[in-house]
């Protein structure tokens, strides 16, 4: 019986008259790959913001690794092992791919108030960064400026940076967004290699990816989770079919 | 220290606040709608003062001079917008700061070229001189009272236009979504030029009214501009209400501080120490106030989320 590593309880977030998150309960077990799906406008971005620490919920609690993190900021949660990738690629464009990942390594490799030694030459930062880049398949592009990477490579870099922080939980926001067929298949394959070794929360539109990877799926519609269970259960759920999968199943 | 004196200084504070408000309203409008940091706003204040003095001398009539001065400042403002500022809308704030800084140097020296370095003598028409008896025993300069009145009236007009008219709606819409407004067929460029012109006119009005009270000299715009920044930081950027509240607070605190801090301090610490520390503290007062507000409310008192 795996312990819930992330538990959100009765989350509620309103923007003026708009109720973006309406009493969301979510539980993700350690080692699980959990997908969150839902139509556009369902409130996924707001929910992710609250889980990651960018938004403060109006009501509710979030527990991560046994601790109440509701009041913690995004950097604080990141330091506790919560990693995320962004839906719209958010990397350091004017640094190389290696530096991007190395910065992520650095954030968890002791303090950064060191003022003299060039950080690039530190093996403790450089070597793990190279290893992660190899792992996601960007090994050959380590010294390329991030801005010069292809879109798909940049998405890979996003995932690499999240991995490099050696997280307990990875929240991936549409990791295959904007990728071509071959690229997204490679990414899905890579992510399935992570299954079991890491806890993944996947927010995705791509149903192939979702049903290949997910152990459990939660369906978010108008700020509420209307169904949560195994892929088979969710597929069969009439509410879900009506609200979302109707066009796609 | 009697109450009459306090009352008069309070009014002076309100008068300074009103001047600051006219400047702050223009600056915050331009920033809120066009996302433009305009350091040369102070230069428009200066241009308003100088053009009015020149126009009054030329026409011999105060009101004609004021009208011409205002119109002239409006024209100068719009010219500056078309020539120098249009390209800056797309740039980041740093570029805007630097470019408008260059404009300040230009304007200050251009004024010196035309009118020289020494302060200009400004005269008030007879019907604006004289005093009002607002409270028994308190005689307050008529002109300053008029300034307060005009300022508050303009404030009310601004509020009305922005919240109750179509133009105001366009302005607020343009602030939240430029492309949408343009897509609706509104000429965004013209709107921007008009808004900037209004901001310039407000600054010019502040300048021409302030002329007879403070000195009309090169660099006068920057002295007040920095105070306007303090107003905007305290009041919150993008909101007219914030500009008004911030201006009154800054105006009153600064004026009362300069008038009464030294004597008040003299009661608390020794008079000789107060003699030295008083003026120093008084001139730093509004900045310390700004620091205090920032410590508690980093976004100011009335930050505008979207529009008012």
């Amino acid at each position: 019986m795996a312990e819930a590593i992330l538990a959100a309880e009765k989350l509620r977030k309103a923007f003026g008259a708009l109720l973006a998150t309406d009493g969301v309960d979510l539980e993700v077990a350690e080692g699980e790959t959990h997908a969150i799906i839902g139509p556009n406008g369902a409130g996924k971005t707001t929910l992710i913001g609250q889980l990651a620490g960018n938004l403060r919920p109006d009501e509710g609690r979030i527990r991560f690794a046994g601790e109440d993190v509701t009041r913690l900021s995004a950097p604080q949660r990141a330091r506790k092992g919560f990693a995320r990738s962004f839906q719209i690629t958010s990397i350091y464009r004017d640094f190389t791919a290696l530096d991007n990942v190395s910065l992520a390594v650095q954030a968890h490799a002791g303090h950064s108030f060191r003022f003299w030694r060039p950080a690039r030459e530190e093996p403790a930062l450089r070597d793990p960064a190279r290893a992660v880049l190899e792992e996601v398949g960007l090994g050959g592009r380590a010294d390329t400026l991030a801005a010069n990477l292809a879109h798909g490579e940049q998405r890979q870099l996003e995932v690499a940076m999240a991995l490099a922080t050696r997280p307990r939980l990875l929240l991936l926001d549409e990791p295959v967004a904007g990728m071509g067929l071959e690229e997204s298949q490679r990414m899905v394959q890579f992510l399935s290699g992570l299954k079991g070794r890491r806890t993944l929360i996947l927010v995705e539109h791509d149903m192939d990816a979702v049903f290949t990877l997910a152990d459990r799926i939660s369906v978010l519609v108008y700020g509420r989770i209307i169904a949560s269970g195994t892929p088979a259960e969710v597929r069969a759920n009439p509410d879900v079919r009506r609200a979302y999968l109707g066009e796609e199943a | 220290m009697n109450l009459i004196l306090v009352f008069e200084q309070l009014l002076n504070g309100v008068q300074l606040g009103v001047t600051l408000f006219l400047m702050a309203a223009g600056l915050t409008l331009v920033f809120g709608i066009m996302n433009l940091v305009n350091l040369a706003h102070g230069s428009l204040y200066m241009v308003g003062a100088y053009l009015t003095v020149a126009a009054v001398q030329w026409t011999g009539s105060y009101l004609a001079g004021v009208a011409l001065g205002l119109a002239g400042t409006l024209v100068v403002g719009m010219l500056v917008e078309v020539i120098a500022l249009r390209t800056l809308y797309e740039r980041d704030h740093l570029d805007q700061v630097l470019a408008t800084f260059g404009l300040i140097l230009f304007f200050n020296e251009a004024i010196v070229l035309i009118w020289g370095r020494s302060a200009l003598y400004t005269s008030l028409p007879a019907w604006l001189q004289g005093h009002l008896e607002l409270l028994p025993g308190s005689i307050y300069p008529l002109y300053r009272a008029v300034v307060i009145g005009v300022g508050l009236a303009v404030g009310a007009l601004l509020w009305y236009v922005v919240t109750r008219t179509r133009l105001g709606m366009l302005i607020r819409a343009g602030a939240s979504n430029r492309q949408m407004v343009a897509a609706l067929g509104i000429n965004i460029r013209l709107l921007y030029t008009l808004v900037f012109g209004c901001g310039a006119a407000l600054a010019g009005l502040a300048g021409l009214m302030a002329g007879p009270i403070y000195a009309v000299q090169p660099g006068m715009g920057e002295l007040i501009l920095i105070q306007v920044f303090v107003v905007i930081v305290i009041g919150g950027i993008g909101s007219i209400r914030g500009a008004l509240v911030g201006s009154l607070i800054v105006g009153v605190v600064d004026t009362l501080g300069r008038a009464f801090l030294k004597p008040v301090l003299g009661h608390v610490i020794s008079p000789t120490a107060a003699e030295a520390a008083g003026p120093a503290l008084a001139s730093m007062l509004i900045y310390l106030l700004m620091a205090a507000v920032l410590a508690l409310r980093p976004e100011g008192l009335f930050p505008a989320r979207s529009g008012r």
Binding site: R93, F95, F115 | E109
Partner: protein, 312 residues
């Protein structure tokens, strides 16, 4: 040795050669001129740390010139002429002021930060004016330069020149090492993408604050040098137009480059020197020139140098 290194080495050699060359052609004025430029280059290098690399648009940097300058002046006023003491106090005082100002301002962003730093610098300017004891508006003379007990005599213009040159090179080197260190990388990352930095676990605030303090301290050193150079300390050190000038030096030279600040200082001050020779109304020409340079000359002078233009 890359082409870039060669060009920079040539620049250093040129600076080294200025005093003997100036004496050769009988124009000692140039020693003074270039020395002044180098002092401002130090100020610009300090601002480049937080502006160029950190993305913090501080519009009140001249305040630290004032703090450093007045530290020297006030100590000298009370008879303490020991240069080591004066300059240490100048640096420490500037660091402290930067800490206080920074702790309030660095929490803010964008236009607020610009306005707040400007306002605080203005506050210090008014403080300087109100210090009647130390000359108030008129300022005070520095009758005795900082004394370094026989090590070097600042009254000797050539010796003083080389002191400034050494310090300039030291500051540039220090900033260069700093921005490539772990600390510097976090600072630059926060500028490049703050959301990403927070997502991987960095809170930008402590790093930006420390950078702000270091920057202020270095500028305080420039202030101490300036006080000795002009032998006069006035509140005008902290005039807000001076802050604008220093910012321009950083931009003109090329933000986020090691050589940029020095190049920018030379360019701006030399242009000012030439223009003021033509007309006393030189600012009416400089103003539009600055506007044009912002509109059309974004990469700065360092972008004209050969080779890789980025640090680390």
């Amino acid at each position: 040795m890359s082409a870039r290194t060669l060009v920079l080495a040539a620049g250093v050699l040129l600076l080294l050669a200025v005093p003997p060359l100036a004496q050769l052609i009988g124009q000692p004025y140039y020693i003074d001129l270039v020395r002044r430029v180098m002092v401002f280059a130090i100020a610009a290098a300090s601002l480049n740390l937080i502006l160029g690399y950190g993305g913090l648009v501080s519009f009140g940097h001249a305040a630290y010139l004032g703090v450093g300058g007045y530290a020297v002046g006030i100590l000298a006023f009370y008879g303490h002429h020991n240069g080591w003491l004066q300059w240490a106090v100048a640096i420490a005082a500037s660091a402290l002021v930067a800490l206080v100002i920074g702790s309030i301002s660095v929490r803010t962003r964008g236009i607020y930060f610009i306005m707040i730093t400007l306002a605080f610098a203005q506050m210090l300017y008014f403080l300087g004016i109100s210090l009647e004891e130390f000359g108030g508006d008129d300022g005070m003379r520095l009758k005795v330069k900082s004394q370094f007990s026989g090590l070097v005599d600042l009254d000797n213009p050539v010796a003083f020149y080389y002191v400034v040159l050494v310090l300039l090179l030291a500051v540039i080197t220090f900033v260069h090492r700093l921005v490539n260190s772990r600390f510097g990388r976090v600072l630059r990352a926060a500028k490049s993408n703050e959301a990403r930095s927070r997502a991987i676990g960095y809170s930008p605030y402590p790093y930006q604050l420390v950078a702000f303090v270091i920057s202020g301290a270095l500028c305080g050193l420039a202030g101490a040098l300036l006080a000795n150079h002009t032998a006069y300390i006035t509140p005008a050190f902290m005039d807000w137009t001076r802050s604008g000038e220093i910012m321009f030096m950083v931009i003109l030279g090329g933000i986020g480059t090691a050589a940029g600040p020095a190049l920018g200082a030379f360019a701006l001050l030399l242009v000012e020197d030439v223009l003021s020779g033509w007309t006393e109304h030189w600012q009416v020409i400089l103003g539009p020139l600055l506007v044009l340079s912002v509109l059309f000359f974004k990469r700065g002078l360092a972008g004209l140098l050969p080779g890789e233009k980025r640090d680390g």
